[in-house]
Symmetry: C2
């Protein structure tokens, strides 16, 4: 048996359950169809106590995902509090909310649960990652008027995102940046994209692109605007990205990762800017 | 509580388990990422005993799905026999094989199980269904050289296929036919496509299209060729489909469903031909 990181689990409507107890029936649609949604929040436990980062933004996104799937949103409520109360592990952790449609063979209410799990130290990735672009298979405007494609919904159907990470590993790079079939950089498999260009910060638009709105990018941009830095939305080609002052993959858990190399070409990056963006997102400065 | 249909469940390496017992841990990647594969076989129990239809074809496809996901294939072996031995419900049932990558927070072996569940009577659908075409969001050649998009892999990430069915219901039709962004009919969300044209039977090609190879279409075509009917692969536009002698959605469980109306336009269909194709696939004749 491998080392299991510290983990606590709570089921909505039931409370804490042992982390090694099976929760889901064999015909739960979350398993058999990937039919459900999730969200992931960063939790830190240090001298300032246990803190859940960007809680409101994640809960709002989770509710939007559930609504887009026509799933009744089950607010985590008491189970959430149970979980936080039970957490006494130092360092960083990921709090996952999972909501499935319930059973396949009989109509049931959605099934919801929360897991809180220690995560490894992402300090090295936060200093820089290499990335490859992979074709996502659709154009940058495909999701306009096609709600059944579930663009922008954080579903449990992430097998392609996991496969992309295996492809990156096979190619000897750290990360993937999805590229639309018409040639634009979209997002990472589990992260948003930020560019620095023309004295502004940019991220990729969610309308029509299928891109998930990034809670952490929004938080970083809020801080940036309060400090007088303009922000905007734009699509960049790989060639345009190579001329940017910086490109970052941004995720709630791993943080603000500067992309130092894209498809084998070096990208501009300034550790001081990365450090400012990291702090804006609630992450430690880059030393 | 709603009526639960008769169901038996077996876990690989463990054997039969109670159908109302939870099987999957909260951090199983089959749930949290839809990272795994499945297959579904038709089981009948009548005067000829319990029969699993097209068993070899489904097991071969299941193994191909697992290989494409770089999952070690776990042949169902003893659990399979336990399940069949335990089945004494008359009529039609679906045997599902499910294989997940195992736990997210710690490296484990893949987790596999089988469910055998009674299904409703599909007699009405087997006489005719209405369908709408929905844009699948990619071109018909997108999956060429893009293995990370998992074209042709029967993954657990089926949320978009389920969403398409909700869209069909909202539009008041029975079924969806996926359409590529370059205008070709591809497949149903959980079925293959067959066309009758030019005195031949046709199905849609899997190479480059991302289409899942249909075990039942292959079985029907085998019988057709043995009876002197030529078969081939081709892509059809909706306009071409309207000129065909017949269009069918074909699935292992529901059978050979003639599409009588596509996007509101009537399609040609001959119940006698449907009946021959149904029998070729192992289904009852259409009376």
């Amino acid at each position: 048996m491998n080392d299991v990181p510290p983990q606590v689990i709570a089921v909505l409507g039931r409370g804490l359950v042992p982390a090694d107890e099976a929760l889901l029936l064999g015909d739960d649609l979350g398993v058999t169809r990937g039919d459900g949604c999730f969200d992931a929040l960063r939790v830190t436990n240090d001298a300032r106590g246990v803190r859940v980062h960007h809680r409101d933004g994640h809960l709002a996104r989770f509710a939007r995902s559930a609504a887009r799937l026509q799933l009744a949103d089950a607010p985590p409520s008491a189970a959430w509090e149970d979980l936080i109360d039970a957490w006494d592990n130092p360092g960083e952790a990921v709090l996952k909310l999972v909501l499935t449609r319930g059973r396949e063979s009989v109509a049931t209410a959605p099934f919801g649960y929360l897991t809180l799990t220690s995560v490894p130290d992402y300090g090295i990735a936060r200093r820089g990652v290499t990335a490859v672009t992979l074709d996502r298979g659709h154009r940058s405007d495909t999701f306009t008027d096609a709600p059944w494609l579930l663009g922008g919904v954080k579903t449990l159907s992430y097998a392609v995102n996991v496969a992309a990470r295996r492809e990156a590993a096979a190619r000897g790079v750290d990360e993937v940046v999805w590229r639309s079939s018409d040639g634009y950089l979209l997002e990472g498999p589990t992260s948003g994209l930020v560019f620095a260009a023309d004295d502004r910060l940019w991220t990729t638009p969610t309308a029509g692109t299928g891109i998930l709105d990034s809670v952490t990018v929004a938080a970083v941009f809020d801080v940036a605007r309060r400090n007088g830095v303009d922000t905007g939305e734009a699509l960049f080609t790989p060639a345009q990205a190579r001329r940017c002052d910086g490109v970052w993959l941004v995720s709630a858990i791993r943080g603000v990762l500067p992309v130092t190399e894209l498809d084998g070409d070096p990208l501009n990056h300034d550790p001081a800017v990365t450090s400012v963006l990291a702090v804006a997102g609630g992450f430690p400065p880059i030393d």
